[in-house]
């Protein structure tokens, strides 16, 4: 009965989404206030019924109702409760339902927290989100119904993929999807503005916190996924340029560009067409990510659904949503930008360059991701594009960007004086070059020019982000608003990431060793002794666990326990790496195979500063949090509260 309630709620939600999508949009275009007023109640009802549907599916998992096909495929009575809940989004059907749920919640949030936004603009935003949701719900209902019954009912389920039985993996998809779907708000803002034909600075101010929030969730989701890959896949890498990783990274890059472009649109009323295009692009790439993962067009570890009907449906959906928005753009954008500009040396220029470089990086990654597909489509053979390509095309635009960021932060709007900026940054440049070159060489020794460039770039970001706060503490600089502080914190976080990436890739030690029980190997400064193996029983797996004691200069450091697990139901072996994490380095041991004669193979890795990568990402998210709490976003614009979009006036602070 519960699954039928879930299915019925989803059908009701679909009807409400159509109401939310069609009535307000038509009403806003033709001037029917009663139709426009449907937007908020429809969005609320839509969210409630999607939530009921999602709860029904969750309930079927908690109760282990194996008469539901999707539950039988992805759960098992032996699965711990937490993973029974996480298993709801462990497969194709449930993760789509999660997508729909999050979209409905974002729309609900827009309905609830946008009282300052003019009625017409808000109705249009909700309308666009309603249509996006309706399309996705049709996809779920027609091709991927999670509530299908199974007969005869199996005694037990197929279990959740053991790779996904991990706390980080339980939260990675919801966070990532919240970010993906969150860009639908920016997209809806853009489409709504293009429908009305007017974009002003007030519009950008309204759109900014929503975009930043989506970006924060996406950042957190990507990092959690990367962290999961790092310790769970057992390879010790943290980024593989896998098509699915790229699919989440491209919207992140465009979303980052969008945040900066919105800043220019808000402060100076410029870059309107760029902002619109980035808003469309960020969400389109999120949809494309879903398409690439869900259709089976690209094969990777993640792409577990491969069904041409589904692919075709998503393709049509993509054509309608993205194609529609881009056509609207081609029609409206030419009349938006005004000629008046800015001097070549100004903050506008730096932000423009920043956006060009971010977009170029996203474009080159897109090219590498799709290139094999294009070649295959033209019958030119099967190829794969690997990390060397992606690393090169990523580093080339990113290095100049990092250098420009530091300067851009200290350049004023409109027209800046190069000598002024130079004078302000002189001290910072000296500190950066000294610390960026001297400290790493003293600690790890000389590696390569690229290593030095990486360290200097990271140090430059950190130092240049700290200039204003330090001056403020010395009582010199201007007051720092939340918005500015958020920007400085986020840039500081990026600097930490750059340091972490540079150190890990330059001074990483990675070795595969055969070790006889009782013997030791030396990795870097560390001596690792293989003390023996033991059998361990987990809740739904059996494991062989190794005892590895680690010493450094004769002093005990830690004892690590890498495991090889066999999950009972799916009979699949899994490697659980053991990691000793310190701020300055990770020591990583993964268990290989029993080589007989009492020896085992191990993969041992020493990764300096990798924690900076995770830490820096968290700092970036913190920067986002600080900036969305800026007071000016909470201030309603009284002059425009009741006015229609077309009359929205601008008052900047």
């Amino acid at each position: 009965m519960i699954p039928e309630i879930g299915l019925l709620s989803l059908i009701i939600a679909l009807c409400l989404a159509f109401a939310q999508g069609i009535l307000p949009l038509v009403g806003a275009q033709t001037g029917k206030p009663a139709w426009v007023a449907v937007a908020i109640p429809a969005a609320a009802g839509h969210a409630v019924f999607v939530a009921i549907s999602f709860i029904s599916l969750t309930w079927s998992f908690i109760a282990s109702d194996f008469s539901v096909w999707y539950v039988a495929m992805n759960s098992n009575t032996e699965l711990p409760l937490m993973y029974r809940i996480a298993a709801v989004w462990g497969g194709h059907e449930g993760s789509l339902l999660l997508w729909v749920l999050l979209l409905a919640f974002w729309a609900l949030a827009v309905a609830a927290f946008s009282r300052g936004i003019p009625t017409l603009l808000r109705a249009r935003i909700l309308g666009v989100m309603g249509l996006i949701s309706a399309g996705f719900m049709m996809f779920v209902l027609f091709t991927s119904n999670p509530f299908l019954r199974l007969f005869p009912v199996p005694l037990n389920g197929n279990d959740l993929n053991p790779l996904l039985q991990d706390p980080a993996m339980a939260f990675h998809p919801p966070l990532l999807y919240t970010g993906y779907v969150g860009f639908s708000v920016a997209f809806a803002f853009a489409v709504a503005a293009m429908l009305s034909g007017t974009i002003d600075r007030q519009w950008a101010r309204w759109a900014r916190p929503w975009t930043t929030m989506a970006w924060m969730f996406l950042t957190a989701g990507i990092v959690l996924g990367s962290w999961w890959a790092y310790y769970e896949l057992g390879w010790g890498g943290w980024w593989f340029w896998d098509p699915v990783e790229n699919a989440s990274f491209m919207p992140w890059l465009l979303g980052t560009a969008l945040i900066h472009s919105l800043a220019v649109t808000e402060k100076r009323g410029l870059f309107k067409s760029v902002t619109l295009l980035l808003a469309i692009g960020a969400f389109s790439l999120s949809l494309l990510g879903t398409f690439l993962v869900r259709s089976g067009v690209l094969v990777s570890v993640h792409a577990f659904a491969s069904d041409p009907t589904r692919g075709l449906f998503i393709l049509i959906y993509l054509a309608v949503v993205v194609g529609g928005a881009l056509s609207l753009y081609a029609w409206r954008a030419p009349n938006l930008d005004k000629e008046v500009g800015f001097k070549p040396f100004s903050r506008e220029t730096f932000l423009l360059l920043n956006n060009i470089l971010l977009t170029a990086a996203a474009g080159l990654i897109l090219l590498g991701t799709l290139y094999p597909l294009v070649l295959d489509a033209m019958n030119l053979g099967k190829i794969s594009v690997g990390p060397p390509y992606f690393e090169t095309v990523f580093i080339i635009p990113m290095l100049p960007m990092v250098v420009l960021m530091g300067v851009g932060m200290h350049t004023v709007w409109r027209s800046a004086s190069a000598t002024d900026v130079m004078r302000r940054l002189r001290m910072a440049v000296i500190i950066t070059v000294l610390s960026g070159i001297v400290i790493p060489v003293l600690v790890w020794g000389w590696n390569s020019l690229l290593t030095v460039v990486g360290f200097v770039a990271g140090a430059w970001l950190i130092v240049s982000s700290l200039i204003d706060p330090v001056r403020r503490m010395m009582g010199k600089g201007p007051r720092i608003t939340r918005g500015m502080a958020g920007m400085q914190i986020a840039h500081l976080g990026l600097g930490l990431c750059v340091l972490g990436i540079t150190a890990t890739t330059s001074f990483n030690i990675e070795t595969d060793q055969r070790i006889v029980r009782g013997e030791s190997v030396v990795v870097g400064d560390y001596t690792i002794t293989f003390d023996g193996v033991q059998m361990v029983n987990g809740p739904n797996y059996q494991a062989i666990r190794a005892d590895m004691s680690v010493t450094r200069a004769g002093q005990p450091v830690t004892v690590l326990h890498p495991e090889k697990r066999v999950y009972a139901v799916q009979d699949s072996p899994m490697t659980e790496a053991a990691i000793d994490s310190k701020l300055n380095r990770d020591l990583f041991i993964a268990m290989g195979d029993d080589l007989g004669d009492g020896s085992w193979s191990f993969r041992i890795q020493y990764k300096p500063l990798i924690s900076f990568l995770w830490l820096g990402s968290i700092v970036m998210v913190l920067g986002g949090i600080v900036s969305v709490t800026d007071r000016r976003y909470r201030l309603a614009a009284p002059a425009t509260r009741q006015a229609p979009v077309q009359a929205a006036t601008v008052k900047s602070t």
Partner: protein
């Protein structure tokens, strides 16, 4: 004006690529062995571990080589089809039992029937590496000169045998009177 239409044009082109990409089988990987001499092996027989069988013994006649294992669900799925094919064709099908437990493999053939002319054991999987096997089941077709004619990945069916294997067998026989 055209500047602003560029995104939609690029997007339409991309859609076209996706539409073509969707109709292709992403798991299809052509074997580099096709048209090349089959890798040689000489392995112990499953039926009698003291005796061995090698490519030298079975060459001179068109044959099929099926890679299987008891731990592979796809092999169980295709087993009946192999039985049917073996009953109808005059091509000998040899089994390459890959990284398997010999006792379990023998029990399997007793329980499900034995479609193979003979089965050899590749306990450490080295021969499978030579043959470029990356997942069981896989089925190869080798001609009388020892050249690989065809490779099929995934469970075989009578239909696949008739459409993909039989024409190649006929062509190979026609070219060699």
């Amino acid at each position: 004006m055209l500047r602003f239409s560029f995104p939609i044009l690029a997007f339409v082109a991309l859609l076209g690529v996706f539409l073509i990409g969707l109709q292709r089988d992403p798991t299809y990987v052509p074997s580099p062995l096709i048209g090349k001499p089959a890798p040689v092996f000489n392995l112990p027989l499953l039926s009698d571990e003291t005796r061995s069988l090698g490519t030298a013994d079975i060459q001179g006649k068109i044959y099929a080589l099926n890679v299987w294992a008891t731990w592979c669900p796809g092999c169980r799925q295709e087993h009946q089809a192999l039985m049917d094919i073996a009953a109808r064709t005059d091509i000998p099908i040899y089994g390459l039992n890959w990284k398997d437990d010999p006792d379990a493999a023998r029990r399997w053939l007793v329980q499900l029937g034995d479609p193979y002319a003979a089965t050899v054991m590749d306990l450490d999987g080295r021969v499978a590496i030579d043959w470029g096997v990356y997942g069981a089941p896989e089925t190869f077709l080798i001609d009388a000169e020892g050249i690989v004619l065809h490779k099929h990945i995934a469970p075989i069916t009578m239909e696949i045998w008739t459409t993909d294997f039989v024409p190649k067998i006929i062509a190979a026989r026609a070219s060699r009177p």
